[in-house]
């Protein structure tokens, strides 16, 4: 295996030719996106430089408090992102369910993955903890976001069926069974599709990164397989907690529909 080719600032600078190319294309096509494109490129560069330096410091000075704080920030950011998408459509209990399912689903899988599968030592080793937690939280965020949307859509579009089921003596769980089933199925579908295409249609980012940085492909693949299974577990667990607790927020204590939530 050849050594890793370090990129100089000049070499990285050469990659900005792609931004220039897109700028020319959008200008020719008359799409007014130049400003956003420049902002996105600058933001991405600055964010990664800052994260890079922060990670150098964190990796050199492993500290359980710092690792914990970073995970907390990641979880909070993920919850905030989901809540921001559905601003006025969510009740307070539903917001709590989103925060709970995101944290419980991901933390359980992160702890299992790092301590039982990878067996890192010390337990807060940031080099492993932070990137792996990031992947699990990021994918669960997508799953939960999709789950919330489909649960809301399902409750609104099938409101009459849910209400008829209640009238006939169904429990809320029985009345929403098909909505929950369809939502879970659709929310884990992107993860399953990416598993199906992996290695054939595309090489996953983590594996590509590891190979580029000099890791043997077999090691990179072993990590990729394990992390994909971890992602599947985290997404499924977060979404099922979300659905199992979330459907209840659409019903009152008297087992009537919270109609105000469904009128939006």
């Amino acid at each position: 295996m050849n050594g890793v080719i370090d990129l100089t600032v000049f070499q990285v600078g050469l990659a900005y030719i792609f931004v220039l190319m897109v700028l020319i294309i959008v200008r020719i096509l008359g799409i007014k996106r130049e400003k956003e494109l420049i902002i996105a490129s600058i933001r991405m560069t600055l964010q990664l430089i800052l994260v890079g330096y922060a990670l150098v410091y964190i990796f050199d000075n492993p500290n359980p408090m710092i690792t914990g704080l970073i995970i907390l920030v990641m979880e909070a950011f993920a919850v905030h992102t989901v809540l921001g998408k559905y601003k006025n459509k969510l009740s307070l209990p539903m917001k709590k369910v989103i925060a709970f399912s995101m944290s419980m689903g991901t933390l359980t899988c992160i702890v299992y993955f790092l301590l039982i599968v990878v067996r890192i030592s010390p337990w807060y080793e940031p080099q492993y903890f932070i990137p792996i937690a990031g992947m699990l939280i990021g994918n669960s965020m997508t799953g939960i976001s999709l789950g919330v949307k489909l649960l809301l859509d399902g409750m609104i579009s099938q409101r009459a069926l849910v209400e008829e089921a209640l009238i006939l003596g169904a429990t809320p769980q029985a009345a929403t069974r098909s909505i929950i089933r369809n939502t879970f199925d659709a929310a884990i579908l992107p993860t399953m599709n990416s598993m199906l295409g992996m290695g054939i249609v595309f090489l996953p980012g983590m594996m590509t990164g590891q190979i580029l940085s000099g890791t043997a492909p077999t090691t990179a693949i072993a990590y990729q397989i394990a992390i994909m299974l971890g992602i599947l577990g985290a997404v499924a667990l977060s979404v099922i907690i979300l659905l199992k607790l979330g459907y209840r927020t659409f019903f009152t204590q008297e087992v009537q529909l919270q109609t105000g939530l469904l009128d939006n």
């Binding site: 009459a160 069926l161 209400e163 008829e164 089921a165 209640l166 009238i167 006939l168 003596g169 169904a170 429990t171 029985a174 009345a175 098909s178 008297e254 087992v255 009537q256």
Partner: protein, 218 residues
């Protein structure tokens, strides 16, 4: 059986006092928007009074589990909904929701005959007309063999002749097994003919409660 004590529901319904008798047929009549459906939905706990209380067999409805209550006080909605699947699935779904054993095809066919619906059990309910869907929903509700039935305009989408047949059969079924029936109807004549008590509602208030001299005996 049901006793209303100073019941109000927002500014839609105001019932200071009302008693619905066990084993009798009570009809609610009145113009549309008068509050009949609201009153019926409160009996099924699909709505709760915003003021006052409703007693059911001497217990405040608030203290009774809603799902348990709905399994003995079964309601047919004004605009019945059909579920996915066949007519068989739709007839059985109430039993499924109530965690009871499903019925044989013979029992289901006999119910279809009772509600005057001449269709096969494997037929899709999406192909049914509004009146046929209403009768399918009625059949689904009657199969639950509940103690009390609440029917909201069970014959609204039916022609006069079918309406008469259906109401006759339903009231006959209810009386035979000494069940309680509360029915919303647009037809005063039908109410007079088939019920024991007729409650007239206007603008959310009970205008009159009177006994009916039924012409038929069962």
């Amino acid at each position: 059986m049901f006793k209303f004590v100073d019941v109000k529901y927002m500014d839609i319904l105001d019932v200071p006092s009302l008693f619905i008798e066990k084993g009798k047929i009570t009809t609610l009549v009145g113009a549309s928007g008068s509050g009949k459906t609201t009153l019926l939905r409160m009996l099924n706990k699909m709505l709760s009074p915003t003021q006052g209380k409703i007693m059911f067999k001497e217990t405040d409805l608030v203290d009774i589990n809603s799902v348990t209550h709905r399994r003995q006080v079964t309601m047919l909605s004004q605009n019945p909904v059909v579920f996915e699947g066949s007519i068989r699935d739709n007839l059985n779904i109430g039993l499924k929701f109530q965690e009871k054993s499903l019925l044989s095809d013979d029992a289901l066919l006999s119910m279809l005959e009772k509600v005057n619906l001449k269709k096969g059990l494997d037929t899709s309910p999406n192909a049914l007309s509004g009146g046929e869907k209403q009768r399918l929903a009625l059949g689904r509700v009657l199969l639950l063999n509940s103690e009390i039935y609440l029917l909201d305009e069970p014959s609204a989408a039916l022609d006069d002749e079918t309406e008469e047949t259906i109401i006759h059969r339903v009231t006959e079924y209810v009386r035979k097994d000494n069940k309680t029936l509360v029915m919303v109807t647009h037809s005063k004549a039908m109410a007079e003919k088939y019920s024991d008590t007729m409650i007239e509602i206007a603008e959310g208030r009970c205008q009159s409660i009177r006994g009916c001299k039924r012409e038929r005996s069962y």
